[in-house]
């Protein structure tokens, strides 16, 4: 097995295990409480509306929006880390079929691995910091994944071309 294939498989297995452990921790300790919190915020908003206390109702809607913002990203991180890890393992097994030199394949593998770690990391950091850095990390990470995947798809097609 080539070193690029090894890198993708080891990186993929590590990322999948990490993503699953994160998911298990989230499901046991955070998810139920978060969902209950979202439901409570929304209920309070309309209870305040019924009591004609509009400023409190607006505060509850805002609290719901913040909790949901975090919930969406926490779930997305779990699914994206595991999904990207599976993709890396699959591609790792057949990476020698990508029609580039060993060196190019290795750097493509590095790009895909880094992008797969950085992109969801940027997404989850958005729950702690609403500044530019987490969003920039997510954008750069997803760009790395897209560029490497485009090159890999081209490499497969190139390899399949007779005489390539």
């Amino acid at each position: 097995m080539s070193r690029s294939g090894k890198l993708l498989i080891i990186g993929g297995v590590a990322l999948a295990a990490f993503g699953m452990l994160y998911g298990l921790h989230y499901a046991v300790f955070i998810e139920h409480q978060t969902l209950d919190g979202m439901g409570l915020n929304l209920t309070e908003a309309f209870v305040h509306s019924a009591e004609r206390q509009l400023p409190e109702a607006h505060k509850s809607v805002t609290a719901y929006a913040i909790t949901k913002f975090n919930y969406v990203r926490q779930v997305d991180v779990h699914s994206h880390w595991i999904g990207l890890a599976m993709l890396m393992i699959v591609l790792g097994v057949i990476f020698d079929r990508v029609g580039f030199s060993d060196k190019v394949r290795f750097w493509l593998a590095v790009l895909l691995l880094l992008g797969s770690v950085i992109f969801p990391l940027g997404v989850i950091l958005q729950t702690a910091n609403h500044g530019l850095v987490p969003s920039a990390l997510a954008v750069v990470g997803s760009a790395m994944v897209i560029i490497s995947l485009a090159a890999i798809a081209f490499g497969f097609a190139w390899h399949s071309t007779p005489g390539a």
Partner: protein
């Protein structure tokens, strides 16, 4: 003509009740069951659930307008139940399908897991057990609730699902340990041989088509998160605030408008996320299926047909899911048909693998 020759080398790579055979059969079965569940959910539950959620939210707003806090709380308890019903069914579909993908993936890496064959087989059984426990547990969460549970927020069905997840993690950690041993140079005498490489047009189409589907899914996801995600989140807050204001002012027209906007927004988000996730998952599935083509004992013509059906369904479903916003239920029906095409293609390939293993076993029995 049937394309797969049955050499002793190939036979060794698909031995009866071996880890790989268990994982290939279990993986395809899990994907088929997960997708079938998803199709049934989309046709019989999804839209009805969305409609009831809108009606209950309107009831909550009307209760707020009537200054009846008790009815507001009752309505939101109802919405919580509806969302849990929907969420657990989506999660059942996703986790069952993804466990199937993982099983196919593990079948692929078996030659690199440096553990004795008996242990590999036990790990495959453990993995498949967890793969059934997890989605079944998730499905039951809505129906079992907190009945007889010793915990304040986690019911027995959640415990079953979490235990299934833990079983999967244990199996994967041992598989990872086997991979680590292999990479450190350990070799076992009864190691599985590598899956024979098939350079047929069917395998190539699945490999390249699958990678392109994954890429398209990522491009769409990046576009959605850059253009729509934050806008949708801001819109939801704005609509809910207007709804609370309209309820406080007893403004029936305002409440109805907000409910309609809320339903439209929920639909827009749902179809965007569904299109993104389905096109990527179908791409991954196509890549995985390219590996098992040597085990699909069908003529080249039929292999190519099933590949076309699979890739066709993989494009139709996400495209028409997106078109649902514009063309409504007609597009939804076509999207469901796309999902059905993928299921049919998978069953066709599974039949090919069953034919292959039956022929292999009978040939092995005749030799012994």
């Amino acid at each position: 003509m049937v394309s797969t020759a049955l050499s002793s080398n190939v036979a060794a790579a698909f031995a009866p009740m071996s880890a790989r055979r268990l994982l290939v059969f279990g993986g395809i079965a899990l994907v088929v069951c997960g997708m079938l569940f998803g199709d049934i959910f989309a046709v019989f539950v999804l839209h009805q659930n969305g409609g009831r959620t809108g009606e209950t939210l309107l009831a909550a707003a009307q209760a707020a307008a009537a200054q009846d806090s008790t009815r507001v709380r009752d309505a939101f308890a109802g919405i919580g139940g509806l969302l849990e019903d929907r969420g657990t069914k989506v999660d059942t579909h996703v986790h069952m399908t993804d466990a199937g993908y993982l099983a196919l993936l593990l079948a692929l890496v078996q030659p690199y897991v440096a553990l004795p064959s008996q242990r590999r087989k036990r790990l495959a059984q453990l993995f498949l057990t967890g793969s059934v426990m997890l989605p079944v547990g998730i499905f039951l969460i809505h129906y079992v609730g907190l009945a007889y549970s010793p915990f304040p927020v986690i019911g027995w069905a959640s415990i079953l699902a979490d235990a299934g997840g833990a079983v999967l993690i244990i199996a994967l950690l041992f598989e990872a340990w086997g991979l680590w041993l292999y990479l450190r140079g350990t070799r076992t005498p009864d190691a599985e041989t590598e899956i024979p490489r098939e350079n047929s047009s069917a395998a190539r189409a699945l490999l390249t088509g699958g990678t392109v589907l994954v890429l398209l899914g990522f491009l769409y996801g990046a576009w959605y998160s850059a253009v729509d995600l934050y806008g949708h989140e801001a819109q939801e807050t704005s609509i809910l605030t207007k709804l609370a204001d309209a309820a406080a002012a007893n403004n029936t027209q305002g409440m109805n408008e907000s409910i309609n906007q809320f339903g439209g927004l929920a639909a827009a988000r749902a179809v965007s996320i569904a299109a993104h996730s389905h096109i990527i998952e179908f791409g991954l599935l196509a890549i995985l299926l390219s590996f098992i083509q040597p085990y699909v004992y069908l003529s080249d013509v039929w292999k190519r047909r099933w590949v076309k059906v699979l890739l066709g369904g993989s494009v139709i479903l996400p495209v028409f899911v997106l078109a649902e916003l514009k063309f409504g239920l007609v597009a939804g029906g076509i999207a469901d048909f796309g999902g059905f095409l993928v299921i049919v293609a998978l069953v066709g390939m599974l039949v090919g693998v069953l034919r292959y293993s039956g022929r292999l076993d009978s040939a092995t029995g005749a030799r012994s």
